[in-house]
């Protein structure tokens, strides 16, 4: 049994943001208190997440049985290598966005509860990363979603109302389908605990019922993670809210869906995973290509990044679709790098838009003379995202392509390389339009860059660069996370104890 101290550390990434958010809601008219409480919660979450990660790395997965209702009867929280890694990065990114938001989010959004909602979202995401129960996962999805739609609508502009309506509708349908799958799985196996279900499925014969339930899971989680052909809601929404919200959506919220897909297919359906892997492979390949092609034709910087984000989801799913331990490791490394980099990139886009006066590529230009530093940051981010050596995207893609070739999947390897090229072309074109060409007459270039508000973006970017320049520890961490994910029997033993 996990010692009580570590049980609290395990629950802290959920409890602290919830507490910070609750205090923030109670003091909703006192913005200073809300900000202070949530900042403390952010720092505390990061510390707890680092501690948790260190402990999991040293002595294996930690388990907490809520209220000491032993698995499979109660709600179980589990931190294995993958969960701990994602929670740690989400906490780092959460702190970065918190600091950014404290300098940039406008007063009206603060008064309407930006910081409490933001922390509710972080609590939901961490809950989804840490839970060991399929129904509990549904609850965390909904926590993330309700906080997310609140944040999405905060500015109340017309595009935001439109985006929120579509986002709510499609995601509600998605989570309801997830709930249908959960209910059917409960009916078929009699359990909701992930470890318990996977153990029970070992003795079940392959059947159409299980296949249908599994595909419902894959469908709803692919929708949540914005995979082809269910991704249209993402670029329709992510460019409308304030930059901090786009950034946290891009960095964390999309990874919740991708993580859940990994967890459900590899762990819950471990004896039957073969049934879905091929579907996921083709979904991943099409996601890669459509994301890259979509990015090419965007005229709005954040929409362009949204399509690049969709392509990134393709890489993560590719790791699952190829279906070997190596490819899973590559996908996990890509996800880890992507969390940090995509958040930094969206924040950076906000800074660029602030000095350019617009997110429209057509109205930007000539920033190289005035903002050489931004141009360098943007360029580095492009290199890292599109997978050029020596930065992070390259190592993850090299790993994935190698795994694809080893598995004989030439098509997957080709799609991974082509998608990287498309994203590079799209972003390179954007860089040339924003920084290189002459400023169009309509450009509003009066705003100046405020250096203190740039600091969190730079810090996150440095973290992403460091992951690329010194990849060995991260490659090792990702390989171990993939190992922990694939070690279904070890997971079952940890969660269920000696009782099965």
């Amino acid at each position: 049994m996990t010692p009580i101290f570590w049980q609290w550390v395990l629950a802290a990434p959920i409890v602290l943001p919830l507490a910070g958010g609750a205090i923030g809601f109670l003091a909703i008219r006192r913005v200073g208190i809300a900000q202070g409480a949530t900042l403390l919660a952010s720092v505390g979450t990061l510390l707890a997440a680092i501690l948790l990660f260190g402990e999991v790395r040293q002595s294996g997965a930690l388990v907490m049985q809520a209220s000491r209702w032993d698995a499979p009867f109660g709600i179980t929280l589990v931190a294995d290598g993958l969960s701990a890694l994602l929670v740690m990065l989400a906490a780092a990114v959460g702190l970065g966005v918190q600091l950014h938001a404290m300098r940039t989010v406008d007063q009206e959004e603060r008064r309407f509860g930006f910081f409490p909602l933001f922390h509710l979202l972080l609590a939901g995401a961490n809950g989804a990363f840490l839970t060991g129960d399929v129904f509990n996962l549904y609850v965390w999805f909904e926590v993330t979603l309700i906080a997310g739609v609140g944040l999405l609508a905060l500015g109340q502009s017309k595009p935001q109302v439109d985006a929120t309506l579509k986002y709510v509708a499609i995601n509600l349908v998605g989570t309801t389908i997830y709930l249908i799958a959960t209910g059917l799985l409960y009916g078929a196996t009699g359990s909701l605990n992930m470890a318990d279900i996977s153990a029970r499925l070992l003795t079940e014969p392959d059947s159409g019922t299980l296949g249908a339930i599994g595909l419902l899971f894959v469908f709803s989680l692919a929708l949540k993670s914005a995979a082809f052909p269910l991704f249209f809601w993402l670029p329709a929404a992510y460019h409308t809210p304030s930059v901090a919200v786009s950034a946290v959506f891009a960095g964390i919220v999309t990874k919740v869906g991708a993580y859940a897909l990994l967890r459900v297919v590899v762990l819950v359906f471990s004896p039957k995973a073969e049934m879905f892997v091929d579907v996921i492979l083709w979904v991943a390949i099409l996601t890669l290509l459509v994301g890259g092609i979509g990015a090419l034709v965007q005229r709005d910087l954040r929409r362009l990044l949204s399509y690049a984000l969709v392509a990134g989801i393709g890489y993560i799913l590719l790791g699952l679709g190829i279906g070997t331990a190596e490819s899973l490791g590559g996908g996990i490394f890509y996800a880890a790098h992507h969390i940090v980099l995509m958040t930094a990139f969206f924040l950076l886009a906000g800074h660029v838009a602030m000095v350019a006066g617009s997110f429209s590529l057509d109205r930007m230009g000539g920033l190289l003379d005035r903002q050489a530093f931004l141009a360098i940051l943007f360029f580095v981010a492009i290199v890292a995202l599109s997978g050029l050596p020596p930065l992070g995207g390259f190592w993850a893609k090299a790993w994935l392509v190698k795994a694809a070739l080893a598995a004989g999947s030439w098509f997957a390897a080709g799609a991974a390389l082509l998608s990287g090229l498309l994203v590079l072309v799209a972003l390179g074109q954007a860089w040339a339009m924003i920084f290189w060409r002459k400023a169009p007459a309509s450009a509003d270039t009066s705003a100046a860059l405020r250096l203190p508000s740039l600091a969190p973006t730079v810090a996150l970017l440095i973290l992403a660069i460091a992951m690329g320049l010194h990849p060995e520890p991260w490659l090792d961490i990702s390989a171990r996370a993939a190992g922990a994910l694939l070690d279904v029997e070890g997971y079952q033993a940890t969660v269920l104890g000696g009782r099965r």
Binding site: T104, D106, G183, T240, D300, S360, A447
Partner: protein, 137 residues
């Protein structure tokens, strides 16, 4: 009884699918509401319907004595009802706001987030946010 309920769930899901595919946002939201209820019934049925005693531990006993009704589906459904209710309220309010802002609830004509003149002048800081508000209200 299970067969009957299964058929009812199927009917509700069919109705919900029909409504969700409608271009009217209002019907879409009704469809999501119906779908939520269908799922609740489905979980209830999935937990098995048994004509046995309620799951209560009587005085002097330390554990439930079989046969007893499955208490878990109720907990699941209660959770799902609460969540579904909150979301339905939120979605309805968003729809009310949208119908005020746009004057209609036709999904085919909801494109405010797709129009560059509305979108690209998005807030990056406080000043531009204020300017944008004056522009769009």
């Amino acid at each position: 009884m299970e067969t009957l309920l299964a058929l009812l769930v199927g009917l509700l899901v069919a109705v919900a699918t029909f409504l969700i595919l409608s271009p009217s946002i209002f019907r879409l939201l009704l469809g999501i509401g119906v779908l939520g209820n269908a799922v609740n019934l489905m979980i209830f049925t999935g937990g098995r319907l048994t004509p046995v005693t309620p799951p209560i531990i009587h005085e002097g006993e330390t554990a439930l004595i079989a046969p007893y009704a499955n208490p878990l589906p109720q907990a699941l459904i209660l959770t799902a009802i609460v969540i579904g209710f909150a979301f339905f309220a939120y979605a309805l309010m968003t729809a009310v706001r949208a119908s005020r802002d746009f004057g209609h609830l036709d999904a085919r004509r909801l494109d405010a987030a797709e129009r560059p003149e509305l979108v690209s002048a998005e807030p990056a800081d406080i000043e531009s946010f204020r300017a944008r508000k004056e522009m769009h209200r």
